[in-house]
């Protein structure tokens, strides 16, 4: 398989719990530098919970706990000296529904993550905002209304704005949690194209329940079922010749 490429982020026997119930069990998985890895599986298989362990968002939920290790550049992100707030600036995230900040303009939304980092000069912020919007493929549509409300954008544009906001601080890893679940087909296509472009610069992990999407955008795929990692490999191989009968059943539409 693809073990030769350097690994940006990996988990070792990662388990996640809610109030003592296991949502993710013993997942060992690595994400190569500048690649797109899709996490697929039926609803409730723990794929979103797993993703939220990777930037320590999981622990914000009531009764949440984890065991095992998550290593970013071979450093344990759950080590006591790691500040989760700083970690989240290195591991960006985009959610299912677009979440532009309603009190901020388009510009300020993208700048939000930069300003919170501190130390940026005003002129630099403007340049970085433009660059982020360019990379998110939104610049041409919003360049003459940067000071307008982000809420005036369409759903698909809002989601690309959220991508721009997430990549503006230059994270190393980008987590996408079903980023097209609330978009129409046109918006979905744009996000999918964008995901492939982004993998040139970022390590992308995308959770999706859309198998065609996983096949289109990802290089590697991990199949989760009932909180466990069932199968991992090159997307192409998994979709044409799955090893595990459960993977086969899922991707051929027999359950989930």
């Amino acid at each position: 398989m693809a073990a030769e490429r350097p690994i940006r982020l990996r988990t070792e026997f990662l388990s996640a719990y809610f109030n003592g119930n296991t949502a993710v069990r013993h997942v060992t998985l690595g994400f190569p530098v500048n690649s797109v890895t899709a996490i697929i599986g039926p609803s409730g298989c723990g794929k979103s919970t797993y993703l939220r362990c990777l930037n320590r968002m999981h622990e914000l939920s009531e009764g949440a706990a984890i065991s095992g290790r998550v290593l970013l550049d071979e450093h344990d992100i759950y080590a006591p000296e790691v500040n989760p707030v700083e970690l989240r600036r290195r591991v960006g995230m985009v959610f299912q529904r677009p979440t532009p900040f309603p009190t901020m303009s388009i510009f300020d939304n993208v700048a939000a993550g930069l300003r919170v980092n501190g130390g940026q000069k005003r002129r630099d912020v403007a340049a970085l905002v433009e660059r982020a919007l360019q990379r998110a493929g939104l610049w041409d549509e919003v360049q003459d209304r940067l000071q307008k409300s982000a809420l005036a954008l369409s759903g698909g544009q809002q989601q690309r704005l959220c991508v721009a906001r997430a990549i503006a601080p230059e994270p190393e890893v980008l987590l996408l949690d079903e980023p097209t679940a609330s978009l129409d087909p046109a918006g979905t296509v744009r996000i999918e194209d964008l995901v492939q472009d982004l993998s040139q610069e970022f390590t992308v992990v995308i959770v999706t329940h859309n198998l065609q999407q996983a096949a289109r955008v990802s290089e590697y795929t991990a199949f989760f079922y009932l909180g466990e990692l069932i199968e991992y490999g090159l997307t192409e191989e998994m979709f044409t010749n799955p090893n595990d009968p459960r993977t086969d059943a899922y991707i051929t539409g027999r359950f989930g």
């Binding site: 707030v85 600036r89 979440t99 900040f101 919170v116």
Partner: protein, 281 residues
């Protein structure tokens, strides 16, 4: 089809009933306002605004002292009450899952239901008595005590209404907890918080009972907050219950001014704190 006929009939009746209820809700308000204008407008002229009350029984005189006193005492109440109320509300909304918060919430609800005259007695016991005299400051404290529970609860509600997805997005972006609270949750809820604060200010501006034995009232123009001071509500109370025809006329005028003051203040504050982005711009 009889079923369809019945359904339409019920629909008509229910619609009519809600329209009727809406009319019943608005009519008394319009009557009050109309009455105020009709009876008060004749008293309202330039002299009315720039003069303090004339000696009892004499014609003329105005409410200048009461207008300024209302602004000062309500201002004192808001100055003390709003920061505490808004701060407490933010705390309850953002960190309010512990036992302490439960107690704060319970006390706020009890205070919300406490008759305002009881709050006045409290302020009298703890401020007027130790100081030895009535004062505008004691009145302001009484009004602040009335405001705090109202503002606390409305602020908490407004901050809670901010979608969880927004605060989560901020945290995922590397916002710290307090920055998420203030920069995202409170900022998003701010117009609602201000509306709640306004409602509270408007309500205390009309309070009379807690001022009777704190600010007391004063027929002269005073700016010293350590001395008794007049407010419009106290003036209305004294004039309306007084024996002189001239006083009754001035009471109507004062009532009209009080209502207009609350209205103007409300509109101004709403304009100043309006959401930066109205929908769809």
């Amino acid at each position: 089809m009889p079923g369809q006929f019945r359904r339409r009939l019920v629909s008509r009746i229910m619609t009519a009933a809600t329209v009727l209820a809406a009319v019943l809700a608005v009519v008394p308000l319009l009557l009050i306002f109309g009455d105020l204008v009709a009876k008060g407008v004749s008293s309202v002229n330039w002299d009315f605004f720039v003069n303090s009350p004339a000696a009892p029984g004499e014609p003329g005189g105005g409410v200048a002292n009461a207008i300024v006193g209302t602004l000062i005492i309500v201002g004192l109440g808001a100055l003390a009450g709003l920061p505490v109320g808004i701060g407490a509300g933010i705390y309850l909304a953002e960190y309010g899952t512990n036992r302490f918060s439960w107690i704060v919430r319970f006390v706020a609800d009890v205070l919300n239901g406490t008759p305002s005259i009881v709050v006045g007695i409290f302020a009298w016991t703890w401020m007027v008595k130790p100081m030895g005299h009535f004062s505008a400051l004691a009145g302001g404290v009484a009004l602040a005590l009335l405001m705090i529970p109202m503002v606390t609860r409305t602020t908490e509600e407004m901050v809670r209404l901010v979608p969880h997805s927004l605060t989560e997005a901020a945290l995922a972006l590397g916002y710290s907890r307090w920055r998420t609270s203030l920069g995202i949750a409170v900022r998003t809820a701010w117009p609602g918080i201000m509306t709640g604060a306004l409602v509270a200010v408007a309500r205390i501006a009309g309070e009379t009972a807690p001022l009777l034995f704190t600010a007391l009232g004063n027929l002269n123009f005073r700016l010293d907050i350590l001395q008794p001071m007049q407010t419009l509500s106290l003036q209305i109370y004294v004039y309306a219950t007084g024996p002189f025809e001239e006083w009754h006329r001035l009471a109507w005028g004062a009532a009209l001014v009080l209502m207009a003051l609350v209205l103007v203040f409300g509109l101004a504050a709403r304009y100043a704190t309006r959401a930066r982005f109205s929908h769809g711009r």
